[in-house]
Amino acid sequence: MNGTFSGDTIAAISTPVAAGGIGMVRMSGPQAFEIADQIFVSVSHKTVSETGGYHGLFGRLHDEQGEIDEAVVFVYRTPRSYTGEDVVEICCHGGIYLVQRTLRACISAGARPAQAGEFTRRAFLNGKMSLTQAEAVVDLIASQGQQSAQAALSAKDGAVFQKIHRVVDKMLGVSAALAAWIDYPDEDIDEVSGENLNQSVMDICDSLHTILKEYDTGRVLREGVSTVIVGRPNVGKSTLMNLLSGEQKSIVTQIPGTTRDIVEDTIRLGDVVLHLADTAGLRDTDDPVEKMGVELARKRLNSSYLVLAVFDSSEELSAEDLELIEKIKDRPVVAVINKTDLERKIDVETIREKIPHIAELSASAGEGVQALEREVRELLQLSSLDSSSGIIANERQRACVEQATKTMDEARQALEVGETLDAVNVCIDSAIDSLLELTGERASEAVINQVFERFCVGK
């Protein structure tokens, strides 16, 4: 629990964690501006640090993977802010994925996930609140504390916890071996160094990286994937939408260009949640209303993560089809060959050359959904993920694992360049501490217990 109470910079999502119009991540603390500058570039090229209080900046957010979103950043300088510290509020488009990615970027850049009620508590301690308000804060913290304690407790039974604990056990093994060898130099203990140590440390780093990766994949399962249904007019996009959502969401007619606006729904396909958007058929048109619909469709195609591109199996591939294939071939896309109940004229192989994931179905007959489900799972690489193997439950846990991963990577580097083992050992212990934060234990105790259990040491 290093430095949990003041002096460091905390971050949290301040809007309800749900799909919504705007999401906000708030940071408070001495490094708030510095961290914001690491992840945000304003269009005016003015940095957050040089901005006066009560100002907003428009620009782009990015993390190690690249650009996250457009955002507006509001800057509040100490002491004139909610908490009395330097505060940055980052507003981006709503939706759990973007907001969480923004929060994570803050954490990777040096912020710490806030504890329950921590912003309010800081506000009180910095004299921004009266005594009576403080009483209410206490109740809030106490109740949230109970909740998070319960959440932590239930997480203990979870697969995540056990997975982390398996890594912790490995780390304790290495650390205890080092500790025994260092603290009992005169005892008959095998030297800990060389290849074995390198290998163990590398294995641990790999395990931690895997857990982090699984977290990110697992997020897809819980939070849903933004998905767009596209295709030229009248290939059956709306019929597919209605089939997947299980109700009449989109109006279906024989007339090409029926869908103008975007129709949305959140559906479950197997164990994946998709945020579906049915769009207007892509074609050049003179109808001003349809034209707007097509424009919206193109925009949504660009902002969605997963593409379901629908083709009519009873017709040959058109120029518009080919154009669409070219446009989306490098993105996560499943080609849906619809109307398999009719006579086939389409050349599937031409599509397959560009789009490996193909699902054949008949939306009107309601057949072939399993094929689509299988392709989506495969595409999202969910098949490699054992859903019972455990995924870290929330950002706080993820932050702990991320910190541990960073520190273990340092231990690995220290070993590589030939630093002395005291430094390596301290890195490993500090990584263990990060992980044990999830359970409230302390590394030094755990390591020493292991030393006495596993090694015959003592005068």
């Binding site: 629990m1 504390g145 050992n425 030094s444 015959c456």
Partner: protein, 626 residues
């Protein structure tokens, strides 16, 4: 009949390693002090290993010295062999360990006590402790009925309280080394509401030097050059005078133990005390680690003027006849003659959660505890606590705030914080792995960490202080010089680099970057560094470590800064946690029991959550506003 015999500001009960430091520190700080001992001939006795230091323990001795304590100096004056352990594993875990001349160490310490102004040394057994109507300490009573009025007292009773020795099925009341046990004091403490519990420890046999065949054993020699414990002991002229030997148990030894394990009082359930995990008896090792084909034993001389040898690693509470069989089954020990048998000893001690971080009892004002009495083990751990208890008792009398060393300052601070925050379920031994800041808490920089504190307290002489300041200045100057120093690529320099197994340089390089390479030392650069001044080793050593480990040191310093912010938020002593709205029940119980002195300490208590700490902070702030 009782009679008045005097009055003291600080009374120290027990003259072992804790008591000595406590008495000297209190007297040196100007408190009128007395030290009581069961026997003047047992002052500074080493009832177990004739040795001082070891991993983490060596750090403690250096720290005691840096603060102005005595153990390091006496150890330097009486050592027979010195080794720097863990060379090659990194400077943070280098640890000094010496073999001591047991008799000389006792004489040295006894004489140092006798020469101390303001300190009375009294052979007497304290049997009662009395408080006034407010619960504050009032007087001590000896077995003979002498009454001493005291303002503060420090209990350093070691293994004497209700000491009971076990050898096989025989057990009897006794202190260590044939001294009698202390009987009345435990009852007096319980009358004061102090709860006692039983811990256990053990020691191996002492055998005759000429009954061992050394030609069958491995030799372990000391290290050169010798680095003394004390920063005041000159490094020149120190000599190793003895060697130690290593022997190994074998399958035959283990069979004897297995055949006789039913005769062990520990396995037979006679001993209720909790033994130290790190100091297992040989029967413990054999039974618990049955897969190990052999266990080692160090044969250590007890002194220059005695033929007794200490058999490290072979402590036992098996019957004497079994002990003889065990020892004689070891190669080289075939004809070994036991002079003193091995034994286990059980004794009363407290739960250190009953103490404040100043080592004063939470519920008995003016009464302090130190050493094994507090649940620790080891001479060095004891001395460290004795020093702090002595300082704080004297300061209390003088109306000053107690000295509390935090975890980032020292192993001493870590030791005490562990004791009073987490308690201990078996005798506590210091280990480097207990410190999260161990890259900062090195034995080589104990003076930088603690001598300024020692000076402020008043335990560091002006002469030593000036010497310290001069050394820091030299370190600083040389560091700055090195930071600015650059080298162009030259054939000789590149040859040196390659011979160390590291890449040659193509363009110029900073000297500090070269020193940061793990393969290159400060000394390696000497031939190329033409303007290098001549500096003492203790200075260049610091320059090198500070440069080499700068990255790690900086990282730990950031952690320390975070920790200290919480440490400086003091919790009022009279806080009633039951009144703090919003605290969880478990947290209330823990906080009431441990009564942390700071938010930092509170946050380290298991069962106190971050939410509880938030609630506590708000409560404290609200109190201020009211």
């Amino acid at each position: 009949m009782e009679y008045k015999m005097g009055d003291y500001e600080v009374a120290v009960i027990g003259a072992g390693h804790a008591g000595i430091e406590a008495a000297l520190a209190a007297a040196r700080l100007g408190a009128k002090t007395a030290i009581f001992t069961m026997s003047l001939d047992a002052i500074g006795n080493m009832p177990c290993n004739p040795s001082i230091g070891g991993t983490a323990k060596g750090h403690l001795v250096r720290e005691i010295d840096a603060l102005g304590g005595e153990m390091g100096k006496a150890a330097d004056a009486t050592f027979l062999q010195s080794r720097m352990l863990n060379r090659g594993k990194g400077p943070a875990v280098h640890s000094l360990r010496v073999q001591s001349d047991r008799d000389e160490y006792h004489k040295e310490m006894k004489h140092r006590l006798e020469l101390q102004d303001g300190l009375d040394i009294i052979q007497a057994e304290i049997c009662d402790i009395r408080t006034d109507e407010n619960g504050a300490l009032k007087e001590l009573v000896t077995k003979l009925g002498a009454v001493y009025e005291v303002k503060t007292a420090i209990i350093c009773s070691g293994t004497f309280l209700h000491g009971r020795i076990y050898v096989g099925d025989v057990s009897y009341e006794s202190g260590p080394d044939g001294l009698h046990a202390a009987i009345g004091l435990s009852e007096a403490l319980e009358r004061l509401g102090i709860h006692l519990r039983r811990f256990k420890t053990g020691t191996p046999a002492r055998v005759r030097r000429d009954s061992i065949d050394y030609s069958k054993l491995e030799v372990q020699a000391g290290d050169e050059p010798i680095i003394p414990f004390s920063f005041e002991t000159p490094r020149e002229g120190l000599k190793n005078q003895v060697v130690c030997h290593i022997a190994y148990t074998n399958e035959k030894t283990h069979q004897i133990i297995r055949d006789n394990i039913h005769r062990s009082p520990l396995y037979g359930g006679m001993i209720e005390g909790v033994g130290p995990r790190y100091c297992p008896s040989i029967e413990d090792k054999v039974m618990r680690f049955s897969e190990k084909p052999r266990h080692q034993s160090f044969v250590e001389p007890v002194g220059l003027h005695t033929e007794e040898m200490y058999l490290q690693g072979l402590s036992s509470s098996l019957p004497e006849d079994v002990q003889v069989q065990i020892y004689r089954s070891i190669v080289g020990f075939e004809n070994v003659k036991i002079m003193r048998n091995a034994y286990a000893i059980e004794y009363d001690c407290i739960d250190p959660l009953d103490l404040k971080a100043s080592l004063e009892f939470l519920k008995a004002e003016g009464l302090y505890g130190a050493g094994q009495f507090n649940g620790t083990s080891g001479y060095e751990e004891a001395a460290a606590q004795g020093l702090i208890a002595g300082i704080n008792a004297a300061r209390k009398v003088q109306g000053k705030e107690p000295v509390i060393l935090d975890r980032a300052s020292s192993y001493i601070g870590t030791l005490i914080d562990d004791l009073v925050t987490k308690g201990c379920s078996d005798p506590y031994r210091m280990m480097t792995s207990r410190s999260e800041y161990r890259l900062l808490l090195r034995q080589d920089n104990a003076d930088q960490r603690l001598t300024p504190i020692g000076h402020e307290i008043g335990l560091i002489s002006e002469e030593r202080w000036q010497h310290y300041l001069h050394k820091q200045e030299l370190i600083e100057q040389e560091r700055k010089r090195i930071e600015k120093l650059t080298f162009g690529p030259s054939k000789e320099l590149n040859e040196m680099l390659e011979s160390r197994g590291t890449a040659p340089m193509e363009t110029g390089a900073h000297a500090s970057d070269l020193i940061r390479r793990p393969q290159v030392s400060y000394k390696d650069l000497e031939p190329f560094d033409t303007e290098r001044p001549h500096l003492p080793d203790e200075v260049t050593e610091q320059v090198e470590i500070q440069i080499k480990y700068e990255g790690y040191i900086q990282k730990q310093l950031i952690q320390v800064e975070q920790m200290r912010r919480l440490e400086t938020r003091k919790i009022p002593e009279d806080i009633n946690y039951e009144e703090v709205r919003g605290l969880r029940l478990e947290a209330i119980e823990k906080l009431q029991r441990i009564r942390p002195h700071s938010i930092g300490q509170a946050s380290r208590i298991s069962g106190v959550s971050p939410a509880d700490i938030s609630v506590l902070l708000i409560y404290m702030e609200s109190c201020k506003e009211k």
